[in-house]
């Protein structure tokens, strides 16, 4: 039980690592990265031990609870086996919870602690594993970067934040981890902030997610004031107890759903995620595909009882959660078709897959959704790292599939193989990881009375295959183009030149900065000298990436192949369900009985995947290989197709909507109103005084004998300009005179009040 007792080490070690990197990193031989990797490895080991002991505990709980009962008796807690319920139902395995007092304010205690159950163990393992691999990968990828140490610091702090959140016992701690992640995401997206595009993307991500966070705060507030506790277990129990009003739960669910939408890049707040690709590729891989963005889904899974009751998920039909997920699957997949930046294809794919997870939660498929988090982490991290590998060694830091890639499969065999395996896993090719998890979600949707969403899921599977086939085709097949063909063009100039012309695509080659860093860092860094040679090779044509990059790729692709067998319904290997699903009753809703697997049921999706592959292959061949084919340039020639393409190209104009309608709509009227006041009231007043006297002068001139009262006419004229000038004198721009007028007026006003009111 050592590991369960000490699993607080999992977030604490990276947190300590972060401070070590910040304080001593620059002086260390490896510039601080050793602290990052060592702390992540420690976390991984402890997480592994925790997982092992958790599994033991589940097995004990399922068999006889003699040992664990004794153990819990010693702890002063009792294992509560589920007395009611059917014979074959899983007994409820009590989560391992420990709390410490964090701070106290008034009568409210804020606790910090750990809540270990199957869900948190899964995420702990995934986060620690992917973080470790990504840090190893970054050793090579970011070598010579100008903010190498800070990069590792932020990466480690991110892991600490995510692990804190995953382990959270109460919602306050949850919020803490959540916000740390948001901050790190901001820092890492803007890692190369010298480029305006990157810092804009970072800000966009930060503010968009912050919009969602308002929902989280509101949700937490609602839950706290209604249930009287921050504890996740307490809230879950309260939500299921039936003592809570449905309306309150619905409100809380909606507020929390907004948070999920923001963090997990769901429609309509998904626009930040593709822009977040401005960060270095390891960041995209770790934060913006496999771990941080699933925090939203994790929130959904963690407080599932609230959503279950709030959205009445067991009723079937439709609910906001499933609808948002469903919409996201489709729109993100459509967007992925028109991207030319390989990372943006993967980004939209991530958005779409997160939509699957959210839809899974929405249709009551809790276990498949969590399982999809698990499997998706492996293959999506692998895909991103593969894209990074291509950019690093194959296309000279360009991510543009159409301009700088193609034909790389011979040059980069390992990257190619892992990329294809992960693509197949993502598409849901049978016997790879994605098949088991995604199909389970789709099947459960049908089984639980959400037929519409089953069809959406199937359509999504078809589209996923198609756009990923396009992506693989463009990157690895066909003719080598641009940098992939060894044409060493100045990527930087290229990025700022033509790429700016179609601004919607944004930046094609953000990672070009690694080069700049290199030139700047010429002076120091022993690490750098070795790299100088390596890099001259890089410039001259595609080749396979070094081991530090390929080993993580291989490990992840192994995960992409085998992770699915933890819960392979076709073979009745359902260990994942056994270990992770908490069992129903006490703090967790009684889930709809999972559908038993049948190959007939899975047939449609397999067929669709195959169809998607074949269709995409033909279209790709036609579009990109043979320029004379009838479909080439079709989007230019056919008006409706062009309209659709433009619509997608501009990302449904959502960004424009946010910028031009919402932001401008808020700011514009205020500025206009102020301007109007200035023009019409202030100026108008001065004008009016002038006009009045002028009119008065005219009147006098006209009606009073000009010969006799000429002097008074002149006087009126002088009065007019004098009044105007007199009022102008107040607006002389000297702030201290404004202050004098202000204070004087206040004093006189007060005096007037004293005299007249008192009397």
């Amino acid at each position: 039980m050592w590991f369960l007792e000490h699993s607080w080490l999992i977030p604490v070690v990276p947190a300590v690592g972060f401070f070590l990197i910040i304080l001593f990193g620059k002086k260390m031989p490896m510039k601080g990265s050793e602290f990052g990797i060592a702390s992540m490895l420690t976390s991984l080991v402890v997480a592994g031990g925790t997982a092992y002991e958790w599994i033991q505990r589940v097995d004990d709980g399922a068999g006889g609870e003699s040992t664990s009962a004794r153990f819990f008796g010693a702890l002063g807690r009792a294992v509560v086996p589920r007395a009611e319920g059917t014979a074959e139902a899983k007994p409820f395995v009590e989560p391992f919870i420990k709390t410490w007092n964090w701070w106290q304010s008034g009568g409210t205690k804020f606790t910090i602690g750990m809540h270990i159950d199957g869900l948190s163990v899964t995420l702990l393992l995934v986060v620690a594993f992917i973080s470790t691999l990504v840090q190893i990968y970054s050793l090579e990828y970011l070598r010579g970067d100008r903010r190498y140490t800070h990069f590792f610091a932020a990466l480690t702090l991110f892991s600490a934040g995510m692990l804190t959140m995953v382990l959270a016992e109460g919602l306050v701690q949850f919020l803490l981890g959540w916000e740390i992640m948001g901050l790190c995401s901001f820092m890492l997206i803007g890692h190369w902030w010298e480029d305006g595009y990157n810092s804009r993307s970072a800000l966009k991500a930060f503010f968009t997610v912050r919009t969602g966070d308002v929902g989280l705060l509101i949700g937490i507030a609602i839950l706290y004031f209604q249930s009287g506790t921050f504890s996740i277990q307490g809230i879950s129990g309260w939500a299921l107890s039936g003592k809570s009003s449905h309306l309150v739960l619905l409100m809380a669910s909606i507020a929390l759903l907004v948070a999920i939408i923001g963090k997990s890049g769901q429609f309509p707040l998904h626009t930040w995620l593709p822009d977040a690709m401005a960060g270095p590729t390891p960041v995209s891989s770790l934060l913006h595909s496999s771990t941080m963005v699933v925090a939203g889904i994790f929130l959904g899974a963690r407080l599932y009882p609230v959503f279950w009751e709030g959205f009445s998920i067991h009723n079937g039909g439709a609910n906001p959660m499933a609808i948002i997920g469903g919409i996201t699957i489709v729109i993100a997949a459509l967007l992925a078709f028109v991207q030319v930046d390989i990372k943006k294809v993967l980004a939209y794919s991530t958005v779409s897959q997160l939509g699957y997870m959210l839809m899974g939660l929405g249709v009551g498929a809790w276990t498949p959704a969590v399982f999809h988090i698990f499997t998706h982490a492996f293959f999506k991290a692998c895909l991103f790292l593969g894209a990074g590998s291509v950019a690093h060694s194959g296309s000279h830091h360009s991510f543009d599939m159409k301009k700088d890639m193609g034909g790389l499969r011979k040059k980069m065999p390992i990257t190619f193989a892992t990329f294809v395996i992960s693509t197949m896993a993502l598409a849901g090719v049978p016997f790879l990881a994605g098949f088991f998890s995604k199909d389970e979600i789709i099947a459960s949707a049908g089984h639980n009375g959400y037929k519409t969403f089953m069809y959406i899921g199937l359509a999504g599977a078809f589209m996923t295959t198609a756009y990923m086939t396009r992506c693989v085709y463009l990157t690895f097949f066909g003719e080598a183009r641009g940098a992939a063909a060894g044409i060493h063009h100045d990527v930087h100039a290229d990025a700022h030149g033509p790429a700016m012309a179609h601004a919607a695509v944004g930046h094609d080659s953000h990672d070009a900065h690694a080069d700049d860093g290199l030139q700047e860092d010429q002076g120091h860094a022993p690490a750098h000298t070795g790299h100088g040679d390596a890099h001259t090779d890089n410039g001259h044509g595609p080749h396979e990436s070094p081991l530090l990059i390929t080993v993580p790729l291989i490990l992840l692709s192994i995960g992409a192949i085998f992770a699915g067998y933890l819960n392979a319904a076709p073979f009745h290997w359902e260990k994942f369900t056994e270990w992770v699903e908490p069992g129903a009753g006490k703090f967790f809703p009684e889930l709809v009985a999972p559908e038993t697997f049948s190959w007939i049921g899975a047939l449609p999706s397999i067929v669709l995947v195959a169809l998607g592959f074949v269709a995409a292959l033909f279209v790709c061949k036609a579009l990109y290989a043979e320029k004379r084919a009838p479909v080439y340039g079709l989007t230019q020639r056919s008006a409706p197709l062009r309209a659709g393409y433009t619509f997608l190209w501009n990302k449904y104009y959502l960004d424009d909507f946010y910028d031009k309608v919402i932001v401008a709509g808020l700011i514009g009227p205020i500025a206009k109103g102020a301007y109007w006041v200035h023009m019409n009231i202030l100026d108008g007043f001065v004008d009016l005084v002038g006009k009045f006297f002028a009119a008065f002068g005219k009147w006098t001139y006209k009606y009073v004998d000009q010969g006799v009262i000429d002097a008074s006419v002149n006087g009126a004229g002088r009065g007019a300009s004098g009044a105007g000038g007199g009022l102008r004198f107040i607006q002389n721009g000297k702030i201290q005179q404004y202050a004098a007028i202000l204070f004087g007026a206040a004093a006189l006003g007060a005096l007037a009040l004293v005299i007249f009111v008192q009397a």
């Binding site: 102008r728 607006q731 002389n732 721009g733 000297k734 702030i735 201290q736 004098a740 204070f743």
Partner: protein, 100 residues
Amino acid sequence: MLLNEFLLLGAALFCIGVYGVIARKNGVMVLMSIELILNSVNINLLAFSLRHGGDVTGQVFSLYVIAVAAAEVAVGLAVVLLIYRNRRSIALDEMSEMKG
């Protein structure tokens, strides 16, 4: 102790501060005068706090005033610094860009 002693002291400090804000030319000195005003407010808050039998509300808000004053000085001095950098002078009466 009379309540009015403190209140009158506060009022006097306040008026001196107002004089400084209007009459001083040097930006830094204007900021100092603002500090006088803020301190007079604090004396008032604490005097009324004691009048209500040591009510903590006054103390809490005087602490908040101190914190805000610190923020104000930081920003104010940064502004003065920026003005100095742009104009080589921090004489406030030479600035009349806001002239209407």
